[in-house]
């Protein structure tokens, strides 16, 4: 049975199902119960589960993360939400210093089942302080799990699995995914943390990616296929723990690796993938691995600059041809057709 849902609706359904079956699950964050409901993902939950379990909070990111941790220690399962990952910069002591260490430093005697939803990604001119893609930071910290789903199916299954996980999970949603649609079964199902997915099979080139860049990678793969190059796209889904084997298997088959990442280049997540592949499959590499990422600069606000800041399918395609040692003329893209690059589609009108 087909059942099309938006990514944002899949998030909503996951939360709703978790709350319905487990009274210890609760949701909090700035604006969670408000009429906009975090891009629709928490709409109506307060009416259904009550103000006691669906709560707004003061703008106290660090303190409220501590509150979530404390409640988790005594048996609750909080889902905390930040409308922008940038706000979590204030909470890193509690996230990385406390939550991540709590299980280990007490010898496994305590648990912090805590999901922190953070939204990354573009919009009109979100600029330097509202669009950082800091997943690399979280993926560096032992004790944190980091999830970045790309599809409606995965976001639901991974969110349910995250809520059921007994560890702090940083759950990252890209703003440009909320409106995409896809098949989403009803009812509870889990997508296990730490398992990647082959989003497209191919023999010539491996593209390892996650979150929104999976869409760009798939677009790129289509474009490459038109010219006879067959890319395999691996959607990592979970950055930590990282499901390394399928990437290695793929590169052993294709001999070529592109890592497409929503984050900055230097000391970013993409470097880790390159390092792992090189360490384990050097002999299979037919060409140097490549990273398609943000350049190492803050996010500019003007669309005239942002258009060049964010990597796209076009960059992946150009990189792929470069790896093949070919100069291929790239198909005409949106921008030359006068379309706007700072929105994912026409449904997106406004800065968020």
């Amino acid at each position: 049975m087909h059942r099309e849902l938006k990514y944002s609706q899949a998030v909503h359904e996951a939360i709703e199902l978790c709350m319905a079956r487990d009274r210890s699950v609760y949701v909090m964050g700035l604006g969670v119960p408000d009429p906009k409901g975090i891009f629709g993902t928490t709409l109506g939950l307060k009416d259904k589960f009550g103000a006691g379990r669906v709560l707004d909070m003061p703008a106290s990111e660090n303190g409220m993360t501590g509150v979530a941790i404390g409640s988790a220690l005594v048996g609750m399962r909080p889902i905390m939400t930040h409308q922008r990952i940038d706000f979590a910069l204030l909470a890193l002591d509690q996230i990385a210093g406390q939550a991540a260490n709590w299980h280990y430093m007490f010898g496994g005697q305590a648990r912090v089942p805590l999901v922190i939803r953070m939204i990354i990604g573009r919009g009109w001119g979100q600029g330097p302080q509202h669009s950082q893609s800091l997943h690399a930071w979280f993926a560096h910290i032992p004790g944190l799990k980091v999830v970045m789903p790309a599809t409606p199916y995965d976001v639901k299954g991974l969110l349910i699995a995250s809520v059921e996980d007994d560890n702090p999970v940083v759950f990252i949603e890209h703003r440009w995914l909320h409106n995409i649609t896809g098949d989403v079964p009803g009812g509870l199902y889990r997508v296990p943390l730490g398992r990647s997915r082959v989003a497209r099979e191919g023999d010539d080139l491996t593209i390892a990616t996650a979150s929104y860049m999976t869409l760009e990678a798939l677009r790129a793969a289509e474009m490459l296929a038109e010219e006879g190059l067959n890319a395999e796209v691996i959607d990592l889904r979970t950055l930590k723990p990282l499901d390394e084997a399928p990437i290695l298997d793929s590169v052993r088959k294709t001999g070529r690796l592109i890592v497409a990442d929503t984050g900055w280049r230097s000391v970013g997540f993409s470097a880790e993938v390159v390092a792992r592949v090189t360490e384990a499959a050097l002999d299979h590499l037919k060409a140097p691995p490549r990273r398609v990422t943000l350049p190492d600069c803050p996010t500019p606000t003007s669309r005239a600059l942002a258009d060049f800041y964010y990597p796209s399918a076009r960059d992946i395609v150009a990189t792929a041809w470069g790896m093949m040692g070919l100069e291929v003329e790239l198909p005409v893209m949106q921008e030359t057709a006068g379309a706007l690059l700072d929105v994912p589609d026409k449904s997106f009108t406004g800065p968020f």
């Binding site: 700035l30 604006g31 408000d34 009429p35 906009k36 709560l55 707004d56 909070m57 003061p58 703008a59 106290s60 990111e61 660090n62 303190g63 940038d86 706000f87 910069l89 204030l90 919009g123 009109w124 001119g125 979100q126 600029g127 330097p128 302080q129 509202h130 350049p295 190492d296 600069c297 803050p298 500019p300 606000t301 003007s302 669309r303 005239a304 600059l305 060049f308 800041y309 700072d342 009108t349 406004g350 800065p351 968020f352």
Partner: protein
């Protein structure tokens, strides 16, 4: 409104009106989708920016947050460059890199506005600290909203300002909401915001932020005190945002605040109130008021034109300014 020179009152009126007209023009233009950045309009809240900055010189400093248009303008920030910034142009006050949420005008002493709630409060305290270390006699004002006092960094800032008796004025525009969330879900009832500052031992006042004269008087007191070296003051001004949190529209239909509440505050428009007074006292004629409005509109037209005609930054700018040379 006694004790204040008519000329000053007129200037306060003009400044408020100017900000109002500029914000309304932005609201009008925004749906054309050329200002492609989040905007937070201050329509309804103009009195705080104007009454406060009336006492500051260009040598004094101001820092602000996401809702900074009024502060930027009241402090003497360049209008053309602000408009160009909203349009993402290279002539903008941040060369297009910042947009509405990141503006500065160093010549005007507008040291910067950034949108992380509470984030510029310690920076303002640091600016004040820096001026003191350099033996300068400047005052620094920090503008922020009622949500900012929920951030720990607000308290850290107050503690240090009090410890060091710094020349800083904390200006809280309490417009009752943080995005769509009322104070009641964020702060304990019965505890006023200025009580927090009192707890830190900082002299604190609460007043009507829609009464520009009240703002002007309290600000004058706090700023002279700072200038004398007698330390920080905290001012809480109750006021109200008329339009949506972010964007150009009205949003009463969303249901998070009532039509009654909105109308009640709208009837206390700071600009209308002062205009009524000025007219009542014969300090301004209808013709004068009209002239004033017309010349402001002309200035705004010019700024919009400037912004529209200005070029976008070149792609080379993308990787410029990452590091200062």
């Amino acid at each position: 409104m006694r004790n204040i020179e008519p000329a000053v009152l007129k200037r306060l009126y003009q400044e408020m009106l100017r900000i109002r007209l500029i914000e309304e023009r932005i609201a009008e233009l925004y749906p054309m989708e050329e200002m492609r950045c989040p905007i937070h309009l201050c329509i309804g809240q103009e009195a705080v920016a104007v009454g406060l900055c009336a006492h500051l010189t260009r040598d004094d400093y101001v820092l602000s947050g996401h809702r900074s248009h009024g502060h930027y303008l009241a402090k003497g920030g360049d209008l053309k460059r602000m408009m160009a910034e909203l349009f993402g142009k290279v002539t903008g006050c941040s060369k297009g890199k910042g947009g509405s949420m990141h503006m500065l005008d160093l010549e005007a002493g507008f040291l910067g506005a950034t949108p992380i709630v509470g984030g510029t409060i310690p920076i303002a305290v640091g600016a004040a600290f820096g001026t003191v270390m350099q033996g300068e006699n400047r005052v620094t004002a920090a503008f922020f909203g009622d949500a900012a006092v929920e951030e720990g960094v607000f308290h850290e800032s107050l503690n240090f300002a009090a410890l060091r008796t710094l020349p800083v004025v904390f200006v809280c525009e309490n417009n009752l909401y943080s995005v769509l969330s009322p104070l009641s879900v964020r702060q304990p009832s019965g505890r006023e915001i200025y009580h927090l500052a009192q707890g830190h031992g900082v002299e604190s006042f609460q007043a009507d932020g829609n009464d520009v004269v009240e703002v002007y008087n309290l600000a004058g007191r706090a700023i002279s005190k700072a200038r004398r070296g007698d330390g920080p003051t905290f001012l809480e001004f109750k006021t109200y945002r008329w339009r949506e949190h972010c964007g150009p529209n009205y949003d009463i239909d969303l249901g998070y605040r009532t039509e009654d509440e909105f109308q009640e505050w709208r009837s206390r428009c700071p600009i209308d109130r002062l205009k009524k007074h000025l007219k009542g006292k014969g300090l301004i004629t209808d013709l004068e008021a009209e002239d004033m409005e017309n010349s402001l509109r002309a200035e705004i037209d010019e700024a919009v034109e400037f912004a529209g005609e200005s070029p976008f930054p070149e792609v080379e700018a993308l990787e410029q300014h990452i590091f200062a040379p």
